[in-house]
Symmetry: C2
Subunit: 235 residues, 2 copies
DNA sequence: CAAGATTAAACTGTCGACAATCGACGATTA
DNA sequence: TAATCGTCGATTGTCGACAGTTTAATCTTG
């Protein structure tokens, strides 16, 4: 069977997928702090506000639960997850494990195109370093690390990174500021890129371990300084 | 309205936590091969067969999608995921990454109680080695590895392992038999436990890397031997 | 006035229904 | 004859409703 009508290269039009939209909106609301940690997510309320029924909201909430942004107490509803210090530790610990691996894989797939992509991202980081938009700066930082996972070439690795990043984003509103000078952070990434190009697994691992470990220590310090909402959302 | 889609032979269920039950039942149906890879999962059919409405079934399907057991084609429904050879590779690659890390963490938390638990599990593996129940043998193997993740003490690490194992379980019906003598596999785990007790990170990593790598190579060989359903579940 | 009991409101879990959409099959045309 | 179009049944996406449970608000009582 031959191809009868040749494709003309049109972009598929936006699906009116409500579940996906609700998921994105809720995620943004949590990141932006409109939904504070521990807050109850009332299905009917969200549904009314968005002009949809509860069914899509419930399905979206289940997704966000699986993703770690919400917790579900049966018969009582969904609540915005409260990240404890131990959660932060777990996430950063996994990040190190995962990103070290991604780095090694990525270095094997390193092409000029990939190198340029990373290089350009570092440029973007330098550009946004001057602007007073911490959320944006953190986001550009994530983008760089995400690229490494993309280059590693494993869908599951990438999804894992996205999940972890998504959980960490919750803390942006909490922390509110970067833990170091943005330019300095960008420079750190230059060094990281250099090591990736060189391609020695041990060195890459050590470097990424230190890189993320540094962030871990700083964020951990900040989190422990905070009023540190003591309860665990249980009862 | 007649029954259009043929029943899959699912059992009835209780009346609380429907979503959880449907999730478990569908998972089992996939593992046991009642729902073959590529098969369409008709919401109404499943719902009718289980005696519930479509709402819980949809939510369960969404969970299984996030978990990688199902894929969703918008407006066309859910289908049982088809694992390609590259998927197997990704999963085992991640398993190595994750379980090496878990092993190192676990060795730090190693207590007599933990040691005994692992030891007993190896005994169980030896016991079931004689029985002609390959699914059971594989399950006991997973249990041992899961214990290591439990001992590691990170909820996220454990969940990650469960997700990966869940995806791999899909292949049990596909592979159908163990890739090696069960007793020999059990012995391998004894060596693994020994290394864990000793507590040298590098040795642990190397050992687990080799241990899982061996399974990877064997399973990979089996998968590539199969008719290897070439298409991607489209149409 | 405080603590427990009681009642009312709100919310979740689940269901059945309806319109929009998809895939299959047969009709149509060159 | 083969490719395209039109039609129809099956299935999804979404909705509004109802029962049971949880939460709060109010009342009772020592």
């Amino acid at each position: 069977m031959r191809l009868i009508t040749p494709p003309v290269g049109l972009t598929a039009l936006a699906d009116t997928d409500l579940v996906g939209q609700v998921t994105r909106i809720l995620t943004q609301a949590i990141i932006k702090g409109q939904l504070l940690p521990g807050a109850k997510v009332v299905e009917a309320g969200i549904a009314r506000e968005l002009g949809v029924s509860r069914a899509p909201v419930r399905e979206a909430a289940r997704l966000l639960e699986q993703q770690g942004l919400l917790v579900s107490h049966p018969r009582r509803g969904f609540f915005v997850r409260k990240l404890e210090a131990t959660d932060i530790d777990e996430i950063y610990d996994l990040r190190i494990c995962v990103e070290c691996h991604a780095g090694v894989l990525a270095s094997k797939n390193m092409t000029p195109a990939n190198r340029d992509m990373l290089r350009r991202q570092i440029d973007v980081m330098h550009e946004t370093a001057g602007i007073d938009d911490h959320a944006r700066q953190i986001e550009e930082d994530y983008k760089f690390h995400r690229m490494i996972c993309e280059i590693a070439g494993s869908k599951r690795l990438l999804r894992l990174f996205d999940d972890l990043a998504s959980e960490l984003r919750m803390t942006i509103g909490l922390i509110g500021r970067l833990y170091d000078d943005p330019h300095r952070i960008a420079q750190t990434h230059e060094a990281l890129l250099e090591v990736l190009e060189q391609g020695h697994p041990d060195i890459i691992t050590a470097r990424i371990d230190y890189h993320i470990g540094a962030a871990w220590r700083e964020v951990g310090k900040l989190v422990r300084e905070l009023p540190s909402s003591t309860n665990g959302a249980a009862t």
